[in-house]
Symmetry: C2
Subunit: 245 residues, 2 copies
DNA sequence: TGAGCAGAATGGTCTAACCATTATAAGATA
DNA sequence: TATCTTATAATGGTTAGACCATTCTGCTCA
């Protein structure tokens, strides 16, 4: 029924003031706040208190503090990085597993594919095909190209979500992807056959999207993520066993 | 190819040390860190620097700082709040439209319903029905119960996502809902007919979920969100016109 | 013309003090 | 004895002023 009557902590008040100024657009990305010595006069607080507030704002990703002359607190553009970071923290806390990530990813990936199937245009279709070719080009004998392949794979998924033109969808995808990638950073190697199966999966999805088959696109995307996840978990547990022995 | 060679900022080093201690379990939730005056001796830093570090850790949700004697930095259990908060900040910062929010919500709401249809048990079905009854009970002549109804409506959606038992799904839902609510906080009133249509929608979704019809559940959930959004936009623009005149 | 140096502005850190909040223990009172 | 009040001390919150470290700018000099 009631809310906290007042803000006792001064630094919190400073955080709120500056945050509001940024969110309301009175401060725009690239703007530089006055120097700490000026700000503390304007806000009538000590420099220590002001700096605590700036640290919080920095942690929130709203500002970036530059050193040296001409430096200062630079207002940042909105970024999904804080989301990714706090998500990563949860994962390290073991509150979120790879399975959770993959399951959720399958859902939004399917939805993105379904959405894309409804509104894709020819230029976007063209781009998807060229990305697919890049992915296919990574496959072959010779040095390991797992990283390059995964990059290309990721680019295709990101472009599918980009087609929806929905910023929320795009940065949620990014956060989830980045955190999944963290699991794979451990010298993961895919064999040629798996890559080929993946490319075939992607081709099927893209075909369904381009042909406008909403349900098929969704289903294929979901299945693809599931298959990919099961494969990766297999490789990871195998690596685990090897390093145990 | 290379990464930053070293950590120049002392406070960052302090953050890293304490964060690692928490993530590795050397510090457990509920533990209280030494007082600032002790910590600054242990870490060989000034109190100001230490406090900047503590503020960052607090912002990350890793500690909570209590005042007074016996107070200090209490280690927190992992929480979804920082993710939700940064997500909300991103949404506000990008000035994401209600349409974007609703569109994305329709997708994950549909996916949650589909997922729930696959694995719902009788106790959960029971709970859903009781929530549905609560929502229905809000409808009737007399004082406006829009808020109560929306609460009940929200509870049903949240429970559907809770059935998936996927923490990511749960807090993404929560963030999206919270941010959508921000648009409705302006003395919104629903008429009786709309509420009844909504309850019917929810009943259909729940029936589909309980009967395990995955595709139907997904489709109904998506349609429901779309209808609800269109209705709300209509009411909002009408309010807008009224306040203009 | 270019390299190098000096100065100034700015964030980073330190010290030392005092204020505000709160749990606990001592004391006063019924 | 039991309960309320009060004093005390420990802890975070805030302030002030100083100095160090980094970096841009422009000047000097070869």
């Amino acid at each position: 029924m009631f809310r906290a009557a007042k803000q006792n902590k001064i630094f919190q008040d400073v955080v709120d003031q500056i945050q509001e100024a940024i969110l309301e657009g009175r401060l725009k990305p690239g703007d530089i706040l006055p120097s700490e010595r000026e700000l503390k006069e304007m806000l009538q607080v000590s420099r220590g208190t002001l700096r605590e507030a700036l640290r919080v704002l920095e942690q929130k990703g709203l500002i970036h503090i530059k050193l040296g002359v001409g430096g200062g607190a630079v207002v940042q553009d909105a970024s999904y990085e804080p989301v990714t970071e706090s998500l990563a923290l949860l994962i390290r806390h073991q509150k979120v597993s790879l399975t959770h990530l993959a399951e959720f990813r399958a859902g939004i990936e399917g939805e993105a594919a379904a959405h894309a199937a409804r509104q894709i245009n020819s230029a976007q279709a063209e781009h998807l095909h060229s990305l697919l070719n890049q992915a296919a080009a990574c496959i072959g004998p010779g040095e390991d190209q797992t990283q390059t392949f995964l990059e290309a794979d990721k680019a295709i998924h990101m472009h599918l979500s980009a087609i929806t033109r929905n910023p929320i969808s795009i940065f949620v995808h990014k956060s989830i992807h980045e955190n999944i990638d963290r699991y794979y950073e451990q010298f993961l190697v895919m064999d040629v056959q798996s890559m080929q199966e993946n490319v075939q999966d992607l081709k099927n999805i893209i075909d369904a999207v381009v042909s406008g088959d909403v349900h098929k696109a969704r289903g294929l995307a979901i299945d693809h993520v599931h298959r990919f996840t099961i494969y990766m978990q297999g490789v990871l547990s195998q690596n685990q066993n090897n390093s145990d022995s």
